[in-house]
Amino acid sequence: MKLKRVVKVEAERDPAFALWISQTVGGERIRHCLQCGLCSGSCPLSLYMDYTPRRLMHLSREGFKEEVLSSYTIWLCTSCYACMVECPKKINITQLMYALKTRAMQEHFYPKRFAIPVLAREFSRMIRGSGRITESRLVMRVFVKTAIWRLLGFSKLGLRLFRTGRMRLAREKVEKRSDIVTLLNAVDTTRKELAR
């Protein structure tokens, strides 16, 4: 029998991460969290999570970066905002989930071919390129990059959508596509200037 310590200790904390989360948009009040559990109770996905939202809030503010960024919790969040509405301390939990997803993607904290971050990446690429989303093309891109065999399972559904005119392959796009690129780039330049 192999024994493993399950209690986390002070030495495993990353204080910089704890500071970062409390300075992130939506996380300003994370230190006020009462650990009441209304977030976990109202979350429709919490029963599938490795850490419930309540536990994730606590781990984050204490700086347990590894556990938080490699958790499935952040990817299971569907942005339904139930937790945020119920939180008595008005912590913007949904917004923090976005910020944690961003960090996890930047620092490669997710399993390879995991569909949710791939969807986020492909979605963003499509917007940068076209300014709009063509649903059929997006779905195909995600399947090709994650689990191409699953496309077969969708052939019947795809056919029904095609027959009812709900699946269009023509690319949706804005006229001024260069404006979209300029807009997105301007955000990055301004942010860097402000940081200085």
Partner: protein, 290 residues
């Protein structure tokens, strides 16, 4: 009455029936909608995890375009409605975000002022058109049709701008004005799983199954929705979600039911795009249609 109209990406794809029925309903009510010129994707709930600040700039471009038109902006898609509202909140709450968004708009020569009113069609129907005016236009009342009104998440959360957050009733009132009977539906603001049916199929399917089960248990003959993703999830996976009991329930945009009542022809309100034919149900309930 005239509004700027922001369709969003889904209403041009899987949610075409929403756009078709919405335009038909407002035409019948004498409300003018002008599509926002050269709009872009709002970023939904996906772009933000890739680039938070960029996602606000994307939404702001649409708001700025609407500002130029000088009209309230109607956003029928629940996700678009939320994202546009949220961007306005954050720009106000965090001046440094506002500064970045302003600079980005400046770079593409658009006005920085993004303070337009973002409106949901239900809000417009209730508060601008009014239920009495709507009732007066009903030609084919939906008498006896039992409808479960499914609001989903993002129309009322986190910002309940025109309806109650925990127990919204705006869609109930609008459909009741058309003669429909609204059934008890305690899961009306529960989550359908969004894109999870695609990314984590088992979990997504469980959420969908619960919503369909509750509708069936409470005797609903149709489900009315306000969101293209909710509509798609509840309609497209009924076979897969069926266990001992089989699901076979039309899932419609609330605007399709309105169109029906206002005498719009079925194939001008996107009914031909449904997977489940509505005609047998209408015949059974003796509801006339055009």
């Amino acid at each position: 009455m005239k509004y700027a109209y922001y369709p969003g990406c889904s209403l041009k794809g899987t949610g075409r029936a929403y756009e078709e029925s919405l335009l038909a309903v407002f035409r019948a009510l004498g409300v003018e909608l002008e599509e926002l010129e050269d709009w872009n994707c709002c970023g939904a709930t996906t772009y933000i995890s890739y680039g938070e600040l960029q996602s606000y700039a994307l939404a702001a471009r649409n708001l700025s375009l609407a500002k130029q038109m000088g009209r309230d902006l109607m956003a029928p898609c629940a996700a678009c409605y939320l994202v546009l509202n949220k961007t306005q909140h954050y720009v106000r709450e965090y001046p440094w975000i506002g500064q970045i968004v302003d600079h980005a708009l400046d770079a593409i020569h658009l006005p920085k002022d993004i303070g337009v009113k973002v409106r949901h069609p239900l809000d417009i129907l209730l508060n601008d058109v009014g239920l009495e005016a709507l009732k007066a236009k009903v030609v084919h009342p939906l008498t006896g049709l039992k409808v479960a009104t499914y609001y989903g998440c993002q129309m009322v959360r986190p910002y309940a701008s025109f309806d109650n957050q925990r127990n919204p009733t705006s869609m109930d009132r609008v459909l009741e004005a058309c003669g429909a009977t609204i059934v008890y539906y305690p899961v009306k603001t529960h989550c359908c799983g969004g894109s999870q049916k695609g990314t984590l199929p088992e979990i997504g399917l469980n959420l969908i199954r619960r919503l369909l089960t509750e509708a069936q248990r409470n005797g609903a003959e149709a489900i009315a929705t306000v969101c293209p993703l909710c509509q798609f999830n509840l309609e497209a996976f009924q076979d897969e979600a069926s266990t001992t009991s089989k699901f076979h329930i039309p899932v419609l945009y609330f605007t399709q039911l309105l169109a029906l009542a206002l005498g719009v022809r079925l194939n001008e309100a996107g009914f031909q795009r449904s997977f489940i034919n509505i005609k047998p149900l209408l015949a059974e309930k003796e509801i006339a249609y055009a």
